[in-house]
């Protein structure tokens, strides 16, 4: 708020009157105006209509309006990133019968999260069943376990579980001890061993914990279920990118999941039950939130 303090008193009083300051959060502020538009038209004589606290509409000079968004945003983003979306419990269902190893999910993910080719938040594995000889492709994101071992072992709360079930990593907190990598039985985590991809390009970009970008040298990175997109009501990048209707994604509390390719919404419990869905390595007791529909089943 240092910027604010530098302003002269009369202007501050005026702004208080129209209620732009003290409203609280940036998201509320952004309802009234778009600061980018303002910057573009920031001339002395330019007038803008704004709404006061008590609901009156007044006209003020555009130059008198201070853009408070940026200052609050960072802390707030961090806070809401740690808390997650209230009332949600996100789940993913992966239909192994549909996966043709197109790998569009991997590409979309690596683009969204600025990853190098060897870094996978989601990895399509070629699986071989020792007993019956069947082979199939298995996309493997983070399982977003309900008993996440990575979260238990993290010494600094850099990786944490949110109320909506998503396990995130804060790469501004991570000390790079890699205990979470050792503890994860699904090998879901990857590390920035060297300077991240396009580090120079993203040098000044503000960190977004829900997207975990820009990546940072010496920190762990992992699948975030595209928490940033979920906040906007979109499906995760991998889910949307799939051409073969492999992925369903949704909210277990609502008991509905949506297919990323067909956009068809189905009842989660019925989908799981009818197809004998399973989780991987259930014997470890980690309680994954990623469910698999078996390959090679009768349709």
């Amino acid at each position: 708020m240092s910027k604010e303090r530098n302003n002269n008193d009369s202007r501050r009083d005026f702004l208080k009157k129209v209620g732009l300051i003290g409203i609280g959060t940036a998201s509320v502020t952004s309802v009234f105006f778009n600061p980018d538009d303002l910057k573009a038209n920031n001339k002395k004589d330019k007038k803008v209509k704004v709404l006061t606290e008590d609901g009156k509409s007044v006209v003020v000079n555009a130059s008198d309006i201070i853009d408070v968004k940026e200052e609050i945003e960072e802390d707030y983003k961090d806070l809401r990133g740690r808390e997650g979306l209230a009332g949600k419990k996100f789940v993913m269902v992966i239909d192994l019968q549909k996966c043709k190893n197109a790998r569009k999910c991997m590409t979309a993910c690596q683009v969204a999260h600025q990853l190098k080719p060897e870094q996978h938040h989601i990895n399509v594995l070629e699986m071989q069943d020792d007993v019956n000889g069947a082979s199939y492709f298995m996309p493997k994101p983070c399982m977003h376990c309900d008993e996440p071992q990575c979260v238990s072992v993290c010494p600094v709360d850099a990786t944490f579980k949110r109320q909506d079930g998503i396990v995130l990593i804060d790469n501004e907190r991570c000390i790079g001890c890699r205990f979470c990598i050792a503890a994860c039985p699904y090998s879901a985590r990857t590390f920035n061993w060297t300077e991240p991809k396009d580090a120079e390009k993203y040098k000044d970009v503000e960190y977004d914990v829900e997207k975990n970008v820009p990546q940072k040298l010496g920190t762990v990175t992992k699948c975030v279920f595209s928490a940033d997109r979920l906040r906007e009501g979109k499906l995760p990048s991998c889910v949307s990118a799939c051409p073969n209707s492999v992925y369903y994604f949704g909210d277990a509390n609502e008991d509905f999941v949506t297919n990323g390719t067909t956009k068809e919404t189905v009842r989660l419990s019925k989908l799981l039950k009818d197809n004998s869905a399973y989780t991987i390595l259930p014997e470890l007791g980690t309680k994954p939130n990623v469910f698999y529909l078996p390959p090679n089943r009768e349709v």
Binding site: S152, C154, V156, I175, G176, P185, S187, R189, W193, G218
Partner: protein, 438 residues
């Protein structure tokens, strides 16, 4: 067996013999310079790691803990010797450890102190080290480890310091040729010592109390270190014997290091009259005992999961003892543990030089054993390793990584050398007491 020191000495002779190492000889300055130059070389490599990240090592996503972590486990292991010798054997009234207890404490303090440095070399973000103290969470074994290792360093320092007080006073009074500052420090640290019987009583009492207190702390440091592995779900680490198994292994690594250091100090400072062949004979027997316990745990570790057909840990065990890399396993197990153990049954092998050479093998074997505990498990994850570069299927440390692994050893040598220049290595007042009892 009590009169292991064969000769009779006057107090004056004891003082002169045992205070001799407290001096700044030309040789020691050359040796220290050499150590500092080596340190600079290693730091040069560490600079690259700071600048370019852990990518300068051979580590990758499927062997994300490598020789740094093996080294950390090894350092913590060696530091347990202080508790075994000066505390357990001391409290049990074992007489022969008296002239050796300070050397054991020096080994313990140096290795425990530097273990903290080792863990920093493994951090991806060493600049965020303080984060652990700001945001530390109590359920993370790393936080437990930091807590107990720090405690152990302090308590070990106290255990080194208390029995040192009478000797510090002696140094201050006797060594008039030393720099004034050094003598002033002796004076401050000797806390107004005046050789009064009640003062000796206090020193003995305090030593006893700290000796008792250090036992659970020492057990904790290595048990917690083993939990860094045992508390994960990985086959090969997910084991309930890891705590005692690590502690047993620690005594082996520590005893071997202790024997080597004792041999070195004895040769370098001409302590033959106080540290005799009999002491080496006894230390050799100690190494046999701790090796026996360790072998027992090794059999348990392999046989129990290996006997069962299907479990994931059974597969891991079979890969370890009979897979592609099994030759390495057997070389380490036989060369660093079983053969030394068998050799030490022969009395001639417990003479100072043969025992020291055997200890060197045990020392190297113990280090490599940590590697076998840490690395192979990670290269056999539950799900297949795919869509990654070829090098992710194995782990080969780089030159920079090896240099950064040597760095803590140099620091330990610097501390040990420094301490051997400023404090008597054999407790003088205790040796005088021994003479009186005779």
């Amino acid at each position: 067996m009590d009169n292991y020191i064969t000769k009779s000495f006057t107090h004056e002779e004891i003082e002169n013999d045992l205070i001799r190492n407290v001096s700044w000889s030309k040789n020691s300055k050359i040796w220290l310079s050499f150590l500092f130059i080596s340190l600079a070389v290693c730091l040069y490599f560490y600079f690259f790691q700071i600048r370019d990240g852990l990518g300068v090592t051979g580590l990758h996503d499927f062997a994300s803990w490598g020789i740094y972590i093996s080294n950390f486990v090894f350092f913590v292991a060696v530091s347990l010797i202080g508790m075994l010798v000066s505390s357990v054997l001391g409290l049990a009234g074992v007489k022969w450890v008296k002239p050796l207890s300070r050397i054991a404490e020096i080994v313990a303090v140096s290795f425990a102190l530097i273990a903290g440095v080792v863990i920093i070399t493994d951090m991806g973000r060493p600049d965020r080290f303080l984060t652990v103290f700001i945001y530390g969470r109590v359920q993370s074994p790393i936080v437990w480890d930091i807590a107990v290792v720090t405690t152990y360093v302090f308590v070990s320092l106290i255990l080194l310091y208390i029995p040192l007080i009478p000797d510090l006073d002696l140094c201050q009074k006797k060594l008039t040729g030393l720099p004034n500052l050094q003598r002033k420090i002796y004076k401050i640290l000797s806390l107004g010592w005046a050789n009064k019987p009640e003062q000796f009583k206090i020193v003995k009492k305090l030593t006893k109390i700290v000796s008792v207190a250090i036992i659970p702390i020492a057990l904790a440091i290595h048990t917690v270190t083993s939990w860094l592995f045992a508390l994960t779900l990985r086959p090969g680490w997910d084991s309930s014997i890891f705590g005692p198994y690590f502690v047993a292994g620690a005594f082996v690594a520590g005893t071997a290091t202790f024997i080597m250091m004792t041999y070195y100090y004895r040769q370098r400072y001409n302590l033959h009259d106080y540290i005799t062949d009999y002491h080496f004979h006894k230390m050799g027997q100690l190494l046999v005992l701790v090796s026996l316990v360790y072998i027992y745990f090794n059999v348990n570790e392999v046989l129990v999961p290996g006997y069962k057909p299907g479990s994931v840990s059974a597969q891991h065990t079979k890969e370890l003892v009979g897979g592609h890399e099994s030759l390495f396993y057997w070389v380490v197990q036989l060369g660093g543990m079983v053969i030394p153990f068998l050799l030490l049954f022969f009395k001639q092998m417990r003479k100072p030089l043969p025992l020291t050479i055997i200890s060197l093998f045990v020392f190297v074997g113990a280090w490599l054993k940590r590697f076998i505990i840490v690395v192979p498990t990670q290269l056999e994850p539950y799900l297949p390793i795919q869509n990654v570069p070829e090098k992710y299927f194995s782990y080969v440390p780089t030159v920079a990584e090896i240099a950064i692994t040597i760095l803590p050893f140099i620091l330990v040598l610097i501390i040990m050398t420094f301490l051997s220049k400023v404090i008597p290595l054999v407790p003088i007042w205790e040796m005088k007491e021994e003479q009186n009892e005779k």
